[in-house]
Amino acid sequence: MIGLSHYLILSGLLFAIGLVGILRRKNLLMLFFATEVMLNAANVAFAATSHYYGDLTGQMFAFFIIAIAASEVAIGLGLLIVLYKKTGTLDLDNLATMKG
Amino acid sequence: MDNILSILVFFPLIAGVLGFVVDKKSIRVYGISVAIVEFLLSLWLWSSFDGNNPGMQFVELVPLIPDFGINYYLGVDGISLFIVIMTALMTLLGMIAISIERDIKNLILSLLFLEMAMVGVFVSLDAIIFYLFWEFSLVPMLYIIGAWGGPLRIYASIKFFLYTFTGSLIMLVGMLFMAYLYQSVSGVWSFSITDWYALVLPVNYQLWLFVAFFLGFAIKVPMFPFHTWLPYAHGQAPTIGSVILAAVLLKMGTYGFVRFSLPLFPDASVMMIMPIATISIIMIIYTAMVAYAQEDIKQVIAYSSVSHMGVIVLGTFAMNAEGVSGSIFLMLSHGIVSGALFLLVGVIYDRRHTKLMSEFGGLASVMPKFAVIFGFMLMASVGLPLTIGFVGEFLVLLGFYHLSPIVTILAGTTIILGAVYMLTLYKRTFFGPVTNEENKKLNDLDGKEMIALVPLVLIVVWLGIYPKPVLEPIDNSVKSLLTFMEKKAQTPLAKEKITLSQTSKEAE
């Protein structure tokens, strides 16, 4: 029988995958993908918990996470466009004038 | 005028703020006038002070942050009264003697702010208000050293600031803990020192708190091994900075011992007598030797300050009226004498722009007045009887002898070693033939310098011959302090070591 733990472990794994993505990506666009993975991991956990407790709050949270993810994408891409226009690249390593 | 203390504190502040408007050319006269008024006010304070009352007088108490127990709480007793007067006096004389022309306005205004802070430290009876003035005094001093000092001025001023700042922050933690203890006993927050006095603390708390306060005070004094900021500060500071620093700022530390450490932690103070005496002896002997090795006149006097402060600290922990009164008197005398010596060094620095002894020699022939006053202050500094320097030193050593003859004999070497470095300094600078061509045409003291120095000479003689008007109020307050400590002490050791004098026993 698939229990809550199964879903949560899955969620944990997805989260770790997202984390790895964030940590290793140098292309900003692809880095954003990884954040989506992380948020999705949380969504899975919420939906599963919601299911196993028979409580709808989890689904609510998941909705809002989706909304937030969407907004983030909008703003993130807006920023990327500005950045790209100015610098012509999305490579993180070019984004280190401020340091120290 | 019951609120004379507030006036004393805030008059220089307001004068300083208003001074921003005063024209640059008139600022010097403005500053001196303000300082004169302040000095007169302090004399007024003395004249209306009741010398037979050992307690706090002119008390003002206005709740400031009642929820946190912070009050605007001022008062003065025999212990602080004269330090206040000396502060006003030294500021005045220092200001008269200023020879700096550059940015004089800023200098004068800084001095006025500094005066406010200094007076504030000595009259506050609330720990936080005390701390407030204590810390604030660093700021103008930082500016004075940093802006008008020698080549290493910035290093010296920052070192001065950070070093003392660090120590006092630890002290602040101690204060907060003290307030907490008071609160846990009485249920009310209070930072008022007089409230704290009533608090009987367990000995281990006393020890920890003693150490916390000690760090704050010791760095200020400065006690070995926390003294190294002082030679830099003095070496780089302009004359006025050194004068104020030596005369007043250092006294804050020893005053703190008397005001806080002794009455708050009588048992711990008694237990710490020997460690502190050891440090004091190191200060006395070690710094006297270091002073002997100096090549710079000002550095000699700077290190000699440390050495003398060692005697003062020793007296503070003598635990009898002779020693403690002597120590407070010595604070005054050291303030006046070292202040005068720094003024004197400033005199030749102004003329030659060097303070190296090797540059001089035979000045006694060229500048006889200068030599006379210098020699006079030198004798006061080495504690010649009938000068102000003797009374305090004698009392301190006398007082501490009761606790430990060995320590006293070691500390007594100050009269020998002090003579060694001071006379060597005097010989190298003033005696012998005039070898340096540049020294042959030096002018003797001018009117301005005489105005600044002669009053100090008179005070040195006056208080050397007739210290009673000053010593008696001090002694009264000290006796009541010791009686209080003895009552409060819990350990038999403390009861044994704290010696009450006959007169205070009768008073009970």
């Binding site: - | 190294t228 270091v290 004798m379 009887p385 009938l386 004698f394 006398l398 020998i416 006959q502």
Partner: protein
């Protein structure tokens, strides 16, 4: 009578302050005159007081005002004129009056004439405070006061440069002044400790209170107090090992040497022992030590005087030697004899010094007796004065020295201290020898000075007249021995020779006299015809040892001064700067550099930033997991 007390005390102060007013002006004759007159007034007042005390047999005790009052300590400015102090007052004011007048002539050409009188009078004031004070703290005021005046006066010619030790053993006046001050300070510490001991055990510093308490004090306390006080006395009276400053102090003008370093200040130590006799009387061990040390110093100083070539230094050594005699007497309990010798010595020694001053004046400050000789023609009066003084010093009857010194030697015999007696007798012979060696080398024989182109001349008349009282006293003082005895023993414990000694007194006296005459005769034989130097003797070990003052100054220089300077330098440059300060700066630098390296984590690279966050999360998770699993 109090009026006279104050006059006697404050006239010198007035004189000093008056002279100080003109301290920076060029020479003003009236300053010297007025100072001398004021001193004379002081002397007269002292004499009046002495007569009063003699008449009534009571002292005068006044308390002028309170000085220091703290805790239980109450020190007033109190003055006591009793037999002891009045004796000292008369001696001091008399000698100083003479010296003041003398100085008018001697300092004639000095541009700091006025300043000199200011210092000199200040010294007299301090000395009077010292002897008149009714408590130990007051005594200490005078004690330090004379120290400072001594410093000022030794260093009076401060402008002279430092020279090497070979050229001048005292290096320079300012060096000698500092040495004197510092050495005295060492002893003063002992004195202070003595004062502290007395205060904490008796609760007061007043003589009468303290002495009244003595029976209640433990022996340890008394021994400690006596020792400490004697250490103080050793400094002022230049007893071994603190004696080196006295000969160096001869750098000062000669009147100073006469007044301070012969007649008055250096006897302060003896005065202290006499003053505090109740303490020393109950501490026989300390007293015996004092006597032994005094005897030793008497011999030790005399031995150095044997070979010295410096006119003033020879007299200085003789002073040292005589101080030893006084301590021997005081240590043996014959306080009145010590005081008597003190007074007598003051007269003839001051005379001797002033005579030396005349010679110096004539010889243009040349002091080497090997360069003098045959001065008797041009300086007859001086020769007479110095001859008389030397005879007195040698102890030739009926001059003053005979009575006082002989009594001391007798005392040693009487006490059964035969070794001390023998040494003292021997020393008496040496004293006679070196005194007359000096006199003869100076005044007799060939005129060695001529090759240096010096034309000596006698001192001013008024100066010579002023010296007369001293000469007279040097001659006749001894006759007052018994009168003085009855006067002084009203206060001081009486000391009488035992019957046994009394029987032998003539024999003893004869032995001493024989030594003295022998010494003079030897000197006459060797030196009256002129200087004969013997290479062999001068290169001998003993001669060199004596000439170099037993190498003690060198020892002090090499093993105290130089190491002190070296250690000071080391403490400053290595310990203070390199350890203490460097630690502080090190902490600061550590923080700064730590911050600077920590900045490297701020690469500015977003990827790194994210990694830091990842690392943070994982480490927190890791710690949390471990905690959860353990706990």
């Amino acid at each position: 009578m109090e009026k006279y007390l104050y006059i006697a005390l404050f006239a010198p102060l007035a004189s000093s302050l008056f002279a100080a007013l003109f301290g920076m002006s060029p020479k003003k004759m009236f300053v010297g005159v007025i100072a001398s007159i004021l001193l004379g007034i002081s002397f007269l007042a002292s004499v009046v007081l002495a007569l009063y005390v003699n008449q009534t047999g009571e002292g005068i005790h006044v308390t002028m005002m309170e000085w220091i009052g703290a805790g239980d300590l109450l020190v007033p400015f109190g003055f006591l004129v009793d037999q002891v102090s009045v004796t000292m007052m008369v001696v001091v004011t008399l000698v100083s009056t003479v010296v003041h007048i003398y100085s008018i002539g001697y300092m004639d050409h000095d541009k700091s004439f006025n300043r000199f009188f200011s210092y000199l009078s200040a010294f007299v004031f301090s000395m009077l405070v010292l002897v008149m004070s009714d408590n130990f703290a007051g005594l200490f005021i005078g004690w330090e006061g004379v120290g400072v005046c001594s410093w000022l006066l030794i260093g009076f010619w401060y402008h002279k440069p430092d020279v090497s030790v070979e050229e001048n053993p005292s290096i320079s006046p300012s060096w000698a002044a500092n040495e004197a001050f510092i050495v005295n300070r060492i002893a003063d510490l002992g004195m202070l400790v003595g004062i502290f001991i007395l205060f904490w055990n008796t609760g007061s510093l007043q003589y009468d209170v303290v002495f009244a308490q003595i029976p209640h004090l433990s022996e340890a306390v008394l021994v400690a107090a006596a020792t400490a006080l004697f250490i103080g006395a050793m400094g002022k009276s230049a007893q071994f090992p603190l004696h080196t400053w006295l000969t160096d102090a001869m750098e000062g003008p000669t009147p100073v040497s006469a007044l301070i370093h012969a007649a008055t200040m250096v006897t302060a130590g003896v005065f202290l022992v006499i003053r505090a006799n109740p303490i020393f009387m109950v501490t026989p061990d300390v007293s015996y030590f004092i006597a032994a040390l005094g005897t030793f110093v008497a011999f030790f100083a005399a031995s150095m005087a044997l070979v010295n070539r410096d006119l003033k230094r020879i007299i200085a050594y003789s002073t040292l030697s005589q101080l030893g005699y006084m301590f021997a007497a005081a240590g043996l309990g014959a306080y009145w004899i010590a005081l008597f010798h003190l007074a007598a010595h003051a007269f003839f020694k001051a005379l001797l010094f002033l005579g030396a001053g005349n010679v110096m004046h004539a010889m243009h400050d040349e002091l080497d007796i090997f360069k003098m000789g045959g001065l008797k023609k041009s300086m007859r009066w001086t020769y007479i004065y110095m001859g008389v003084a030397s005879l007195a010093l040698a102890g030739i009857p009926p001059l003053a020295g005979f009575f006082s010194k002989d009594a001391i030697i007798e005392t040693a015999f009487n006490e059964g201290r035969l070794i001390l007696w023998a040494i003292l007798v021997l020393t008496a012979g040496m004293t006679a020898f070196y005194s007359f060696r000096q006199v003869f080398l100076t005044f007799e024989g060939d005129r060695r000075y001529e090759e240096f182109g010096i034309h000596p001349h006698e001192m001013y008349k008024f100066v010579l007249i002023a010296m007369a009282p001293l000469a007279i006293l040097a001659v006749i003082a001894g006759f007052f021995q018994s009168a003085f005895h009855s006067f002084i023993t009203q206060l001081l414990p009486n000391y009488e020779m035992s019957a046994h000694t009394h029987h032998l007194v003539w024999i003893l006296g004869a032995i001493v006299l024989a030594f003295a005459v022998g010494g003079i005769a030897l000197a006459w034989i060797k030196y009256s015809k002129g200087l004969k130097r013997s290479e062999k003797v001068e290169n001998g070990f003993l001669y060199k040892l004596l000439k170099n003052q037993y190498y003690i100054p060198k020892f002090y220089a090499d093993f105290i001064s130089k190491p002190y300077a070296m250690i000071s330098e080391l403490l400053w440059k290595s310990v203070d700067m390199k350890i203490v300060d460097a630690t502080v700066d090190g902490i600061a630098r550590l923080l700064y550099n730590g911050g600077d390296s920590a900045r490297k984590m701020q690469t500015g690279n977003l990827s790194n930033n994210l990694n830091w966050m990842g690392v943070g999360l994982v480490s927190l998770l890791l710690v949390a997991t471990i905690t959860a699993l353990i706990g």
